[in-house]
Amino acid sequence: MHFFKLILRNAFRHKLRMALTLLGLVVAILAFGLLSTVVDAWYAGVEGASTARVITRNANSMVFPMPLTYAQKIRQVDGVRSVAASNWFGGIYKEPKNFFPQFAVDVAYLDMFPEFVINDAEKKAFLRDRQGAVVGRKLAERYGFKLGDTIVLKGTIYPGDWEFVVRAIFDGKDAKTDLSQFMFHWEYLNETMKRTAPRRANQVGLYIIELSNPSLAATISREIDAEFKNSQAETLTETEKAFQLGFVSMIEAVVVAIRVVSFLVIFIILAVMVNTMTMTARERASEYATLKALGFGPRFIATLIFGESLLIACIGGTIGIALTFPCAYVLGKVFGTIFRTFNVSATTVAMQVACVLLVGIVSAFFPSLSAARVKIVDGLRSIG
């Protein structure tokens, strides 16, 4: 008991220094936590991917479409439960910075995603209205979309002003579902294209395929691609997870950079903590010498220093970890629809705890080593 009291009292001797070190720790742990959360958010799409779905795209790249006639052939492949077309719309809502993902989808699409929780009545209303739109709760809250509102999107890939009516708002089954999506009828897009640019009608961007047996994903993917080899538009079929990973890997350089930087932050605070503990130990050289003269062993001295370092690190770390959650919440609101989810994961917290302990232990290492070894006479003689 005295032991702990000794550590506590020692730590708070220099209030200003303690306060500054704690501030540094809090900022560093907080920054580390937020940066890790940003990296996690990028991979969120991969995490939320289902194993029961595969995605077929044009083998050249997603920029190229596939004919509508493919749908029938894909449906005939063994193990395919249903097929839905999906075209990336890429329209602008009022200003380019109001970005959110917009898809023109087949009616079968919604049933393929059990993660979308939609009210039955709203779903029926959407199915009945050709110009209807289904929007995610997060998107609706951000721009104030309500049921029955008319939304106008300016098309970039499909030029012109497009009008939609909000017929349904969906929630997610779990925290990973992307609630910033905007979906409308593929038929509406196609019919309009038939009128205005017939050459571009009956073209599908992606085929989303639901499998009856997820373990046969690889076989079915190969079969589908073989079906369309040497045709007008060769395809590449892959699991939804692989598809999402492909996206992330394109900006991988940025993600890796952010990871590296988040560890740099820990290095900086490590330098600060080591500095603090070194200075503290040096100033107290005569005290440690006195303790030794009284009969306390070198291990006691070392434990004192370790204890103080860990105590400061733990206090700073706890505050930092606690602050990560509200800050992540605020950042999530600021980023809005750029990241589909912005949640602090258990892994992030675990890494933060590990960093705190690492900083606490490493900064005490050399000071405690030299303090424990100091000769009583030299210690009593030093002026600090």
Partner: protein
């Protein structure tokens, strides 16, 4: 009377470990700060250097990038017929109708996919870009399944090197040449014959029309002529402006992220400096008392300690800049958010970045060292001498 500079410098030398640690923390912060600025500069240089001052690019209105744009043959012909288009040596206009699409290629070392730009160019495609030169192999033959690859693509992507083949649209395409575009955006592209590529991808429309102005002043007249015709629905930009706009989103992202990181890091470094300086003042209380008793004024003491902090941070800044300059050896390859295509660019160091980084480190030293220096200056002579 001023306290000599050597006082501040020597004090730094006495506590070597502390100086090293504090300066080390500062160095890391300045490293990140400088690296971000260098990355942004590299990006800008790459993209803006892609455009020539006298070239004009025409795309469909509202499409934002060439990949999303479609210019019908008839409209392209109208642009070709305008009087502002410069004439080449053989009487043909210095104009290229081009088609730009993305194909997915696999990277060499990581086998991860990425979108690469394939540009179908007309005969005038290369003359219009003076920075583009074929360094290996030869130009593709019009009418054949041959393409040339930019340096960055040839080295990074599987099958894109000289003599290798890439498969898309049901055909095998041979890379017969590698071109160097002086580190501009074209280094990340593959070029082929526009007619061959258009038929391979089954695209009957061009993506853009690029030409050289007869006279740079005639840009406004040309823009007026195109804007006045309501059927055309085309957007006209100077090439440099177009590419500057293409990099806007990515550049902003890098700068915001960098600023955010720098602020956070600098807090850590400033705190480190503060702790060090407070400790320095505390351990030298008797010294300060002696200096004041000798007749040095309060301001001199303040300045002396402030200078110590500034020297510390300047040292950290130099080390950080030194480390950052090594980053110039690396090339970054990432997806440009606006054009969805892979772009390779490197870190570029220039005088402005060096100045900004050093000023940043001095600022950190000033903020960290001010309050401790103030405390040192405010010490009462008698109390200070008694504290020894």
């Amino acid at each position: 009377m001023k306290i000599p500079l050597t006082y501040s410098l020597r004090n730094l030398r006495t506590r070597k470990l502390t100086t090293a640690l504090t300066a080390g923390g500062m160095a890391l912060v300045v490293f990140v700060f400088a690296a971000v600025l260098m990355l942004d500069e590299g990006l800008r240089k790459t993209l803006i250097d892609t455009g020539s001052a006298d070239n004009v690019i025409v795309i469909r209105k509202g499409s934002g990038s060439e990949v999303l744009s479609g210019v019908e043959r008839a409209k392209a012909a109208i642009v070709e017929g305008q009087s502002q288009v410069a004439m080449g040596p053989s009487g043909v206009g210095l104009l290229s109708k081009e088609m730009v699409v993305l194909i997915t290629l696999v990277k060499r070392d990581t086998i991860k996919p990425a979108n690469v730009v394939i540009r179908g160019v007309s005969a005038m495609g290369i003359p219009l870009r003076p920075q583009v030169k074929i360094v290996e192999g030869r130009l593709f033959r019009p009418g054949s399944s041959e393409i040339i690859a930019g340096r960055a693509v040839a080295s990074r992507f599987e099958g894109a090197g000289l003599g290798e083949t890439v498969r898309f649209s049901g055909r095998d395409w041979t890379i017969v040449g590698v071109f160097d575009a002086e580190k501009s955006g074209f280094d990340s592209e593959m070029w082929g014959d526009v007619d061959q590529l258009m038929s391979a991808f089954r695209r009957p429309v061009y993506s853009s029309v690029i030409f050289k102005l007869n006279d740079s002043e005639q840009f406004d007249a040309f823009k007026q002529a195109i804007d006045d015709d309501p059927r055309l629905m085309l957007e006209v930009k100077r090439e440099r402006q177009f590419y500057a706009d293409q990099s806007a989103a990515l550049s902003m992202f890098i700068r915001v992220l960098g600023l955010f990181l720098s602020i956070i890091f600098s807090i850590g470094a400033v705190i480190g400096a503060m702790i060090t300086m407070y400790a320095a003042v505390a351990s030298r209380t008797a010294e300060i008392g002696t200096l004041r008793a000798l007749g040095f004024r309060r301001t001199s003491v303040l300045v002396a300690f402030l200078l110590e902090s500034l020297f510390l941070s300047f040292l950290g800044g130099l080390v950080g800049l030194g480390l950052a300059s090594f980053m110039q050896l690396f090339t970054v390859s990432t997806m440009n958010l606006q054009s969805w295509s892979e772009l390779a660019f490197s870190f570029t160091l220039n005088a402005s970045i060096i100045t900004k980084s050093l000023l940043f480190s001095l600022a950190m030293g000033f903020v960290g060292g001010f309050l401790p220096a103030l405390r040192a200056a405010r010490l009462g002579i008698v109390d200070a001498l008694r504290a020894a």
